[in-house]
């Protein structure tokens, strides 16, 4: 973990020029870094190497890993469609440990508390480091400087970009699918344990050298729809149980009961109403999280009252969004991630509920993406500073606890609103400088708190439109001062010098580095 080679990026953050022995580019500003070269390609396969009857089934995951040529130092990917109900990642590394393979790089689309099982493999050297969102126990482990390599955190779009650009070369991808045929066509819809979309696995199926589909429901060819195309798949493994769909519903996918959060959600919706964002044919995205879900609910009330409808909503689909689709308040749900079982069912039966992927929605090294087209996006943050920079990866105490998800990618929508409480259990959300920058302030337009709404001075249009409303418009500095007046000025967390993680921007440059917390 060399920390000698640091460089100041465009946001004034000191970031490493090399991570895990790979040269890095510091963040240069929004849209400033232009990639060169060609999209990564895997070796050309030949049909002659695959069974002529199309049956790619092998008996066990371990056997598939061996056939895929697993060896020391490889990159192994899995996905979080089952969220905390994922069973596959833990089994894969159990197998790798049994095979005595070392120094693997785990490249998940996100990690969850269930993956604390893997800490033993970080300890014994089976896994060298993790590149992916760090949720819960793994985040704390990383922050305490215990992981051998440096964690690399990317957004969902950034993950697709990294794979497509060849920044991360996946050796073996394992895709947990609810339903598959033995040719490898697969979906998350028609099995006994359904996760809905399989969008996060798209890049892996296209670019990984070896692709293993794991399912508990094998159907006769063809498995329709083929969210994953068997033509990209090497092996198919049938297991007893592929995932726990009930665990998809996490605490962050239910509407809030808190009167304070409901007030923030109501203010957010009202802001969108008075500034004309909610109009016939508009589009929106509300992320996971109780407050964001409540915002959708208030949007629905306004739309009903005004007799207007949205052209599309981007999800994270969930019960509330599905009800809006059924009621005719939105024409389409463009779904990147299914957050509950109502979403899974709707994706299966409603033709206007469409599965998307990080390629279509979020990839910054494409020819545009859907996130850019959204009128308003509602996101969360652990901290926001007086320059509107925001943090989603670490807490104010400096510990990595959350994934970036699609958050960075969504910042490119036309209006970005962060509804947040001014403080949480004495911890101010509005601060002078965020602990970790995950998104630059120039892309964050509005911060809605229970004690006032701050509009980014760059958005003179919104400031003008909100001027004559009865909404409590304040400056971001005023909000930060009020947070400090109530909570007291907090001491800054103490860090050691060594870097434990880096945060990638959507273009693969490094926007910030996270250092080991100093508990002494």
């Amino acid at each position: 973990m060399s920390t000698e080679n640091l460089v100041k990026n465009a946001l004034g953050r000191w970031v490493p020029t090399e991570v895990n022995s790979v040269a890095q580019i510091p963040y240069l500003g929004v849209g400033k870094y232009k990639p060169e070269g060609r999209i990564h390609g895997r070796f050309i396969p030949s049909n002659s190497d695959y069974p002529s009857d199309g049956n790619k089934e092998v008996a066990t995951i371990k056997e598939a890993l061996v056939k895929a040529g697993i060896k020391d130092g490889m990159t192994i990917s899995t996905h979080h469609h089952f969220r905390n109900g994922d069973l596959l990642a833990n089994i894969v590394f159990d197998c790798a440990a049994e095979l005595g393979v070392k120094n693997l790089r785990w490249f998940p689309s996100a990690s969850f508390p269930v993956h604390k099982h893997l800490i033993q493999y970080l300890e014994d050297g089976t896994i060298h480091h993790i590149e992916g969102s760090m949720n819960g126990p793994l985040g704390r482990y990383t922050s305490e400087g215990k992981m051998k390599g440096i964690a690399v955190l990317r957004s969902h779009g950034g993950r697709y970009q990294a794979v497509q650009d060849g920044e991360v070369k996946i050796d073996i991808a394992l895709i947990a699918a609810a339903c598959a045929d033995t040719f490898g066509n697969a979906n998350g819809l028609n099995g006994s344990a359904n996760s809905g979309s399989l969008g996060f696995a798209l890049a892996d199926s296209q670019f990984a050298e070896k692709v293993i589909v794991v399912t508990d429901t094998v159907v006769a060819f063809p498995c329709i729809p083929w969210q994953i195309q068997g033509n990209n798949v090497d092996f198919v493994v049938k297991v007893d149980k592929i995932g726990i769909p009930e665990e998809i519903v996490s605490g962050t996918t239910r509407i809030t009961n808190s009167p304070d959060r409901l007030l923030i959600a109501e203010m957010t919706a009202k802001f969108c109403d008075v500034t004309g964002i909610i109009r016939e044919g508009f589009s929106f995205q509300a992320g996971a999280g109780g407050t964001a879900l409540a915002v959708s609910d208030y949007f629905a009330k306004i739309m009903r009252a005004k007799k207007i409808k949205a052209r599309f909503a981007r999800g994270g689909s969930n019960k509330y969004l599905v009800e809006m689709l059924q009621e005719g308040l939105v024409d389409y749900i463009l779904d990147g991630q299914t957050f509950d079982l109502d979403g899974v069912t709707s994706l299966r039966v409603n033709k206007n509920h469409v599965s998307t992927s990080p390629f279509t929605s979020y990839n910054y090294h494409g020819k545009g993406n859907f996130a850019d087209l959204v009128d308003v996006v509602i996101l969360g943050a652990t901290e926001i500073d007086v320059n509107f920079n925001a943090n989603v990866a670490s807490h104010s105490d400096g510990v990595l606890l959350h994934g970036i998800g699609g958050w960075q990618n969504c910042l490119f929508s036309k209006t970005v609103i962060l509804p947040v409480p001014l403080f949480r259990d004495r911890i101010p959300v509005l601060v002078d400088e965020v602990t970790t920058i995950c998104g630059p302030g120039e892309l964050i337009d509005v911060v809605v708190t229970e004690r006032g709404i701050a509009i980014n001075p760059l958005r003179t249009d919104l400031i003008e439109k909100a001027r004559n409303s009865d909404l409590p418009i304040r400056t971001i500095q005023e909000l930060k001062d009020e947070a400090e007046r109530i909570c007291g000025r907090p001491d800054k967390p103490k860090f050691k010098d060594n870097i434990v993680a880096v945060i990638k921007w959507v273009d693969g440059t490094i926007i910030d580095a996270v250092r080991q917390i100093d508990n002494d």
Binding site: P259, D260, L262, L263, S396, D397, G398, R424, D425, R426, I427, E450, R451, D470, I486, C487, G488, P490, D491, P493, K494, I517
Partner: protein, 408 residues
């Protein structure tokens, strides 16, 4: 207090505890002052909590002690209240470890201020207090009575006192519901010097109760050189209280309203409290009549089904129809509903505007009779219309220059 008691505990802890702390204090004979902080926010506030505790111990001239602070994001005013109560269990003192008075505690209040909504806040639960003001109730009620467990009564007084000094309720009238009887009189010392605007007197049955409190309050005010007015809102919660409503309503010039408490009232009658409220119709109309005769406000009982906001709205409409001018709230989400229903609606305002304009025209023209279209309008109707207009102006439902705007 037993002689060998050297350990005391104050405050709350547990998984669900928010914005609070529990303090365990042990007085010692040697070793100086030791503070141990266990907190999720230790890296941010650990040092400041430690400094605050040392300051408090020194304030009470304690030289040797061990303090354990199990903290769940408590603000300074909460930690101070918990520490003071922990100390006072072991060491008697007349000194008070008070937080600085916030600039927000002085608010403009008058007898005739509208009191549509008053949000009840359990007096020993700081987490509800911090954000109470953002929901814009007309008043907040820091409750020392029914929402505080008997074993927590003493420590709640320190917390309520400190909250009155430190918490910004964003302009809401600052009210305290004291305990019944002698305990309620004792409560006064903790609140009167700290800019409380109104005292709710529970289970009030006679004018004497108010007179006694009035005497005690005036004495406290002289002693502490407190000069703000403290209003009374007696709560009528029994058959006897209902019978004595008018004499209670006129027992002090500082009485601004009578409130009704139907849970206890129906229990006193020995009947079930129903949604329709037929069983309490007499009490409600009797109370409204007493209030109107005394020139004060009549406030209705709280609506306990917090999940059903539609039923609440219907309940408020009935209440308004009977002559009530406000209702207690036990959940912040009830506030906008109650406010909206008590406020005059667009139709009422429009009609009132026309009547007021017709009246003013008639005066200008020196006409003895006011008419609107082909209809004659009586003086009381004009008076009611003027009241509606005043209310609408106050609630910002119409601009104060509405008349000019209509004529131009």
């Amino acid at each position: 207090m037993e002689e060998n008691t050297k350990i005391s505990v104050a405050g709350n802890k547990g998984d669900k505890t928010r914005s609070d702390c529990q303090i365990t204090l042990e007085l010692k004979s040697t070793g100086g002052l030791q503070v141990e902080v266990v907190s999720k926010v230790k890296s941010m506030y650990g040092k400041s909590i430690e400094r605050l505790c040392i300051k408090g111990l020194q304030f009470f001239d304690i030289e040797h002690a061990h303090v354990l602070v199990e903290d769940f994001g408590a603000l300074d005013f909460v930690i101070m209240a918990r520490l003071e109560y922990a100390i006072k269990q072991l060491k008697s003192s007349n000194k008070e470890f008070l937080p600085e008075k916030s600039g927000s505690i002085l608010i403009n209040t008058t007898k005739s201020l509208y009191r549509f909504t008053r949000l009840y806040l359990p007096g020993n639960s700081p987490s509800y207090m911090l954000n109470a003001g953002i929901h814009k109730p007309d008043g907040v009620i820091l409750d020392l009575e029914d929402s505080v467990a008997p074993t927590k009564k003493a420590e709640a007084r320190y917390l309520v006192r400190n909250a009155l000094r430190a918490v910004d309720f964003y302009g809401a009238e600052r009210m305290v519901r004291i305990n019944q009887g002698a305990m309620g009189v004792e409560d006064l010392a903790y609140i009167i010097p700290h800019h409380v605007n109104l005292i709710l007197v529970p289970k009030c049955e006679s004018a004497d109760t108010i007179r006694q409190l009035d005497v005690a309050i005036n004495k406290l005010k002289r002693e502490t050189e407190t000069d703000n007015i403290t209003y009374f809102m007696p709560i009528i919660e029994s058959a006897l209280g209902v019978e004595n409503a008018f004499s209670i309503a006129t027992s002090s010039e500082n009485i601004v309203a009578l409130a009704l408490g139907l849970e206890d009232f129906t229990a006193d009658l020995g009947v079930k409290r129903t949604q329709e409220g037929t069983e309490s119709l007499y009490a409600r109309t009797r109370l409204v009549n007493a209030c109107k005769a005394a020139g004060i406000q009549a406030i209705d009982s709280v609506f306990s089904n917090v999940a059903n906001l539609d039923a609440l709205a219907a309940n408020v409409r009935t209440s308004k129809g009977l002559g009530f001018e406000g209702m207690g709230c036990i959940h912040p989400r009830q506030i906008p509903v109650i406010k909206k229903e008590f406020a005059p609606d667009a139709e009422e305002i429009e009609k009132a505007k026309q009547i007021v304009i017709a009246y003013r025209e008639a005066i200008k023209k020196g006409l003895g009779v006011v008419s609107l279209g082909s209809k004659m309008i009586d003086a009381p109707v004009v008076k009611r219309a003027e009241k509606t207009i005043q209310l609408a102006e106050k609630l910002n439902l119409i601009p104060s220059d509405w008349e000019i705007k209509i004529n131009s």
